[in-house]
Symmetry: C2
Subunit: 346 residues, 2 copies
């Protein structure tokens, strides 16, 4: 846990963590942190203390490693803060919760500029602020001696507001599959950056700062969603977990998916055409937009922000994901995507 000293004056760009020291950096970083609505004890003691109005707390952790989840030459420190927060805040939303606080563990080389860390802190704070959340604690340490890379581990806490958590295991045959948020934009932006380009800016920005539909999570829980998850590894991969955990078949409607994610014609088509790929491959297998996907009983009117994209069928002994009746793996192969989702140790 952090032990900040009184804030030191903001330094110039040449200041590094080694020069300013742990407590100096933490002081500067906390000046960017904002404050969480539920804070009883904020940063600076052995631990934070937060109110949990619901009597339960939602908790999730995601680790971002430089070079694997972000690049300092592709993303500003503010972008990286936004992205690290979004990945975690979306997980809380996917349970039907509203995020209340973040804790941030950060390992960086001693040569890291404090201005860069202040940028990350500003990005974390800005992504949290609309939800009433903030960074309430953390730890700042030197990276391993063999590494010049930053590792950022973020834990988000959240409140369910009296709602039952929406699990991956609750989908039932007959349910409607629905989507909230964008799919394929971050993957398309990554494809652009990998080829050395930085436009169209809309998709590059989507890669740098995802815009998860946070409010759609609690909205879905309120409306009676039976299962929900965020799309972090790719729609087919993440729905695969829902199908397996619920022992059902999830059949996506290709036409509905195209209508929802690829109409009207926009930057995804522009890039896809330039690269000679099918933009549907990004929609089906691209992660990191942190869209939410959920299943709802057929009789339930879909809440604001949700679009139907498929249906749930009984799974028998072969739970899994289909696209208009075809096995997901065949569809992926046919449209030329290399794999059905992010492989973490590939």
């Amino acid at each position: 846990m952090t032990r900040p000293r009184p804030l030191v004056p903001r330094g110039d760009a040449a200041d590094t963590v080694k020069v300013v020291g742990e407590f100096g950096v933490i002081g500067r970083v906390l000046a960017k942190a904002g404050s969480a609505r539920v804070t009883d004890v904020g940063p600076g003691d052995d631990a934070a203390v937060l109110r949990t109005p619901d009597g339960r707390v939602v908790a999730t952790t995601d680790v971002l490693v430089e070079g694997r989840h972000f690049r300092r030459d592709w993303s500003s420190p503010e972008d990286i803060g936004h992205k690290a927060a979004a990945a975690n805040l979306a997980d809380v939303a996917a349970m039907g919760g509203v995020a209340t606080a973040l804790l941030v563990g950060l390992a960086c080389p001693p040569s890291t500029q404090t201005a860069w860390l202040e940028g990350v802190a500003a990005g974390l704070a800005a992504e949290c602020a609309p939800l009433g959340a903030a960074v309430v604690g953390g730890d700042l340490v030197a990276s391993a001696a063999d590494s010049a890379s930053v590792v950022l581990s973020v834990t988000a806490l959240g409140d369910l507001g009296g709602r039952a958590p929406v699990l991956r295991s609750g989908a039932r045959p007959g349910d409607v599959v629905a989507l909230a948020g964008r799919l394929g934009w971050a993957a398309c932006g990554l494809a652009v950056l990998r080829r050395g380009f930085s436009s169209p800016i809309a998709v590059v920005s989507a890669h740098r700062r995802p815009s998860p539909p946070y409010a759609a999570g609690p909205g879905a829980a309120e409306a009676g969603a039976t299962a929900m998850c965020d799309v972090s590894d790719g729609l087919l991969a993440d729905l695969g977990h829902v199908a397996a955990d619920s022992r059902v078949v999830v059949d996506l409607d290709r036409t509905a998916l195209v209508r929802s994610c690829l109409e009207p014609v926009g930057p995804l088509h522009q890039v896809a055409s330039a690269l000679g790929v099918d933009p549907l491959s990004w929609v089906l297998t691209g992660g990191e937009d942190h869209a939410l996907v959920a299943t709802f009983p057929k009789r339930v009117p879909l809440p604001v922000g949700w679009t139907p994209v498929g249906e749930v069928r009984s799974g028998g002994k072969n739970p899994g994901v289909l696209v208009s009746g075809e096995p997901a793996a065949d569809v992926v192969r046919a449209i030329g995507a290399e794999r059905s989702g992010h492989v973490h140790f590939g």
Copy 2:
């Protein structure tokens, strides 16, 4: 957050993360995780859901970096799990709380043996179990491409059981300073390991697996402690934060400290004599034993496990730490310790 697949059979020692894959490893690791008393939704969904009987949650994060906080050739994976858990569980105790759950972010090279990760998980679980806590979530990712080192980020959550949190800022002139737990043992063990030895085993074990006095934290809160923190950076450094935040002078009684920490004669003296150092330097500046230090009003009988080691005086414009009236820095210089505590980016 983790998305475990059904457990796979335990593999042989040659299995690596790259071979078994993220979900396979998580399945094996979770088989070691035990279960937390407060769990509503455990690992395997977007987030965990935990009950918070107190209506508040205590939350803290510590990051351990291979080569800086542990070495794989000095500590078994079980030791590393114990140590990572202890650092966080002690922070919760230092607020007066009882830890309920851990979330673990782990970055490791793809070549890491799954058996090693299972060992870490077993150590984390074993350290948590006596408190009724367990690992309820986390994330497993590949280390940065430039690094063969493991980074372990642990977040602990805890419950205050109706007690007010005990902050660093509440010490008042006239209070008694008291200590619970061991000091100097982990630092002595580290000195032994650094010189290539592995005995006396008592101090080496203390470095590998600290034994924080978890129950003493809630006990102190119950008894009316005015300030408390855990000793992770060294007694003088950590009491320095209490002094600064409370605007007081903390005067340690050297005789009481020696009686409490260095009598009867034991392994600290044995090693100190072999190395030609004053064992008091480890007591004053050694971190990582995670002892608790607290201040109590004079009229309060000290609860079980606490020993008086000093008193609080009014700080005026010069809050700080003394040892029997002498400035801490002078004492440290006189006994030959290099610095007054752990420097994170030194």
